[in-house]
Symmetry: C2
Subunit: 712 residues, 2 copies
């Protein structure tokens, strides 16, 4: 990802930050359904806020009690006598709409509905959900849930959830958990307990009737307090809103780590029965995450490893890594892992290597540095060995394996000294079985992992964030003026090619002829050799029945080819409607590509590029990007194709005209973005890329239009 | 891996099992360098065996003491008065050769040398190492080490190492750690402590001067006591011995899980400075592991997850998986992971789904089964939900996510009941944060993981072992009679093609001509169209200078083509030696492939197959197998190629003659195995695969011979 990142040209959705502040930073909370019994949900919330030390006003609401857990209890929200910022609704489904209404009427600015039994439970529940959203919107009250586990703010001691703040002591703060599924979010927090990690904020969005994942993410980016957002997502309803939230996070240098679940066929089926969310194309979703520098984690463990790494707040922007180890084997293992993660492990300068050899003659000094068992005799060798990676190696990040050595407690001072000397560098250690030493080193600012491979993977992710954050800001692409569609449905070949020309993609010159004489004249005009191809809406595979003639070299041959095509076609497909025959110049030496656009139902227009022939048919090797892409981003697209070297003059060819290709891809993508209102898809196959300086030319195209206007 | 597995045709190395028994099951041990101080190495070993309760005789040897740690101490091994089975040598490097000599002379049958400072330390150390091996071999004494951490037998309480038995209580036994690097082996045992795993045996082979990884593995396969061998390997010196050990393990249904380190370029460099081992080709090493069903783990965590899974001793042979979850999100996540691991998650039968809906109306019943939060109200729903996966789903393996639920302690009984009802099935649970419940469930026979993705990966590996173990035994391929080489070095094209023909690979008919008249006559004889190609040792790229003519259709054209080739070549390369021109029939419709053999310096002859054209040049898409392969295994090879569908009639072609292709691959691989003594490599490019029934034909070939005899 080296090209500047154009953002979608559509106007960005506006997040209502003040209303989110009332939700997440309330000065007062009403707990509707408050109970005196802390084992019941309505009691657990009251107890949680008292224990948490929430500093705002707590108003229990329950018509059957005067006092709840020592606090004055009100018969209704209105009876409180002041509008609470936040109403937490913890009553059974049947009473929820009434509770939302009384909260709204009393002037609450936000509500969390924990109860389930709504859209996820069937049509009746969906109707109740619609009603509560209408009430909330009518009153200008934001709504989180229903069917969610709410949220916890561990710093404020605020519990808007029936789960507890279950943090442990940790050296690092700033981790935020945000999960559509409450159960998955809870799993994250359980695993964090076992790993010396704490969260500052924990939220689950459930049915997302009003506030969704994107709102929460935009809020977290706005506050600037989270060091990392880690979460799980099953689907996105509003693609543009999701993208806008990711852009904000990216601009604020807030790393986002997401597990997207439902990627596989069975998983996707299970997800769609489990939630009502639109899936969108998985390939497009992956592209949305890639473009915004989100780490797309394959599972919980990976997500938390990386969130843990982010909580140290250091994001090296160079992909080079220093490695040191007390055992040669682990140096090798980490070097292997670095290669797999795309990190370089360059050698230390010769002078530094000589200096390290003076300290330990048998040491491996290249990088990985093998400190050997010598540290068991003299711990003071560790600091200079590791520091060499920073001082002389110049690395922004280093990993040191120390393993399960019994000397760990006293070795810790060596690493503390390194961090003090190089406070801006990232130092990760691999240690097994010394939790108290690990905690001490974390307090010093080191990351501590148990597994060398996971350490390397996490550092690689931090480097990826560093590179994303170092990129220029998103720029709004200027789009061409929208045009009107030339028809509706699948456009004919002539109309499709006209659309391509409008889009700025060069189209092969051709003439539609209906006689052998006209064929000969057209051929003479266009220049030899020419190609002839029958035009018929009823003949899909024209070459199979002899409807195509290639390499026609003369006027006479063109006339003859016309006649023989007509004869073969009328024999093979006597009932087919024949519009005539296309005559076009035969394009010589060229790389065959396919180029297209597809409007994703969630994320909008996308552009696709791939090589033709076996690459397309056997390997499905294509790259997809959100439209529009700049010419530079188009270059990144073809660099990402497996067959990329075909464009560079592989197999004895002349290098292809990549400038013209980048221009064509960018132009078509801008056209697709400008005309997303009616342009469902474009399929250019083949797009011929000629040698440098000779441009590209679309030979065949198929456009599908499904709307009337130039803009959605 | 569906084809029967031919084993290498070479005779299998013989492992000297009785001598390994003296090493690993000694009735008596001498500790040379015994110390009274348990903090010193020679003292730690004595203390370890006393504490471990080793049942054999322990003879401390130290000329300066009469009693060591309460045991009678001897001035020399000879002074013991009886030959110990095993001598453990823990003296500084300078005294090691003498200690080995006195052990050998006293009749010890095996020795472990823990000391370092030998081959790994330079030429002087290497000389001492050679000397100690010569002494040991001369006396028929086996030798482990030097520069190793020895071994531990936790069941026998035997400590032949300066490290301790550091096991924890565990429900499962039978894990064996075997590592070339002692530090990596120690890391494995440290991590196992944190994961409720214990080892029965722990061994490190160090410099492998006599006993190597393969010897140890063969011994472990022989005893049949290990349930799994897990370890780390940097390199293999004797490929045939390693293969023979893997075969034994496979035949004894002993799963082997290995981390091969040094796979990357930097990692490989680091490994070669760290040990003296030959690397061999990484692709060949991967193939050796694949063929023998070894799990090739990418890191320590993966290796131990799978070793843990193996310790339950259940290896399902079908790749179908039942999934259940208390949260829909985790069902989706596990289904995604199953798809990535190649496991099917088929739907439960309709009747079973109806039955489950009766138990929980909102449950997801397809598979994954979503039990929903209903289990919090009624735990008894869990057992029937999970049992349905075994009873009606018929799965041999199921994974159930329960997460960090506070109800875990009482839920455990549900899972215990499932295991009692289905004792032969594999049940894995995902639980966070209840170590005592996890231990209880492990005692019941469940596997317990913390991470859903790691659970799925481990089960997938157990399935892979199950499939390997279900395969027919290795069969010795019968090889063709060896032949003598036609020359030495890179053979000329005519000689190379003759070798191919000897090997049983059809070669295109051709004639070498030296006049236009002969060219015309040869063309007439061979049948039109023909191809003409200049033959010269000095012109590598013949078509670049006009040295090739394709599609020659007549006698006259053949004569003319000969003359124009000669004219073009003498203009472009006037100094080149010209042997003449090949005339050969032009092969029509065919799939272009490349076929070759390479003799790996460690593992011997291999065979390679790939598609030609862009597949070879751009994608490097080739499959490698150890030679020989049967025709069935050859079919597996082409099925594993990315372009496999090209052979099945993709792109409108006729299906290719895969029978003839399988035959040719098998024949060449057998020839390469039979003639490994002189055949360094064969490169057939292209091998044309014609439509079914029309066979294959090699158009060009290059053979490299580097020896004199038919057999190595």
């Amino acid at each position: 990802m080296t090209a500047p990142r154009p953002a979608p040209a559509a106007e960005s959705p506006v997040f209502d930050i003040p209303s989110l502040r009332a939700l997440f930073r309330p000065r007062s909370i009403a707990i509707v359904g408050a109970s005196n019994d802390p084992s019941r949900i309505g009691g657990r919330i009251v107890a949680g806020n008292i224990e948490g030390g929430f500093g705002g006003d707590i108003f229990p609401v329950n018509p059957q009690r005067d006092i709840v857990q020592g606090l004055r209890c009100y018969p209704s929200v209105a009876a409180i006598g002041q509008a609470p910022d936040l109403a937490i609704v913890a009553v059974p489904a049947a009473g929820v709409v009434a509770a939302v209404r009384q909260s709204a009427e009393a002037g609450a600015r936000a509500a969390v509905v924990l109860s389930s039994g709504f859209a996820e439970a069937g049509p009746e529940g969906a109707a109740m959900q619609r009603e509560m959203v209408a009430i909330a919107r009518g009153a200008g009250m934001r709504l989180m849930g229903p069917n969610c586990m709410g949220f916890l703010d561990a710093r404020a001691g605020l519990v808007a959830s029936f789960t507890r703040i279950n943090n442990v002591e940790s050296a690092f703060s700033g981790v935020t958990i945000l999960s559509q599924s409450g159960a998955v979010g809870a799993h994250f927090s359980h695993v964090m307990r076992t790993r010396r990690m704490r969260y500052d904020f924990w939220g689950s969005t459930g049915n997302q009737a009003d506030i969704d994942f994107a709102d929460c993410l935009a809020w977290l980016a706005e506050t600037g307090e989270a060091k990392v957002v880690v979460g799980c997502l099953e689907g996105v309803g509003d693609g543009q809103k999701f993208i806008a939230a990711l852009e904000r996070a990216c601009e604020r240098r807030l790393p986002v780590v997401l597990c997207k679940i439902g990627r596989s066929e069975i998983g996707g089926e299970a997800a769609s029965t489990h939630t009502a969310a639109l899936a969108g194309s998985s390939q497009v979703f992956d592209e949305v995450l890639r473009r915004h520098g989100v780490h797309n984690a394959v599972g919980v463990e990976e997500a938390l490893d990386i969130a843990y790494g982010c909580s140290a707040g250091k994001f090296p922007a160079r992909a080079s890594l220093g490695l040191a180890s007390t055992s040669g084997g682990f140096g090798v293992m980490m070097a292997d892992a670095a290669a797999e993660e795309g990190l370089d492990v360059p050698a230390l300068p010769e002078a530094a290597q000589r200096r390290l050899k003076e300290i330990v003659p048998f040491a491996g000094t290249r990088n990985p540095v093998d400190m050997t068992g010598q540290y068991l005799n003299d711990e003071s060798i560790v600091r200079p060995m590791v520091e060499a990676l920073f001082a002389e190696g110049g690395h922004a990040a280093a990993i040191c394996y120390v393993g399960g050595s019994g000397t760990m407690p006293s070795l810790a001072a060596q690493f503390e000294a390194v961090v003090q000397a190089f406070p801006d560098r990232l130092l990760a250690l691999v240690i097994v079985g010394f939790p108290e030493v690990a905690a001490r080193l974390e307090r010093a600012g080191c990351l501590v992992f148990e597994d060398p491979r996971r350490a390397v993977r996490a550092v690689a992710a931090l480097v990826a964030f560093g590179r994303t954050f170092a990129m220029p800001a998103f720029t709004r692409a200027s789009l061409p003026a929208p045009v009107s569609p030339a028809g509706r449905g699948t456009l004919a070949e002539v109309a499709s090619k006209a659309v391509l020309a409008q889009a700025g993609v060069p189209v092969v010159a051709d003439a539609l002829v209906t006689s052998s004489r006209d064929a000969a004249a057209a051929a003479a005009r266009l220049g030899f050799p020419v190609v002839l191809k029958v035009v018929s809406p009823d003949i899909p595979h024209k070459s199979d029945i002899g409807g195509v003639a290639l390499g026609v070299e003369s006027v006479e041959a063109a006339a003859a080819a016309y006649d023989s095509i007509m004869a073969r076609v009328s024999a093979a497909a006597p009932a087919a409607r024949i519009d005539g025959v296309f005559v076009s110049p035969q394009v010589g030496d060229a790389v065959e590509m396919i180029l297209g656009t597809v409007r994703d139902e969630v994320f909008g227009p996308t552009v696709l590029l791939g090589f033709g022939g076996v690459f397309a048919e056997i390997l499905s090797d294509t790259v997809l990007r959100l439209a529009p892409v700049s010419p530079d981003e188009a270059r990144d697209m073809f660099a990402a194709l497996k067959g990329a070297s075909l464009l560079n003059g592989a197999r004895g060819r002349a290098p292809a005209d990549v400038d013209a290709l980048a221009q064509a891809v960018s132009a078509l993508s801008g056209f697709a973005a400008a005309n997303a209102g009616w342009l469902a898809s474009v399929d250019v196959n083949p797009l011929l890329v000629r040698p440098r300086g000779q441009g590209v030319v679309a030979v065949d195209a198929l456009v599908v239009a499904d709307g009337e206007e130039g803009r959605p």
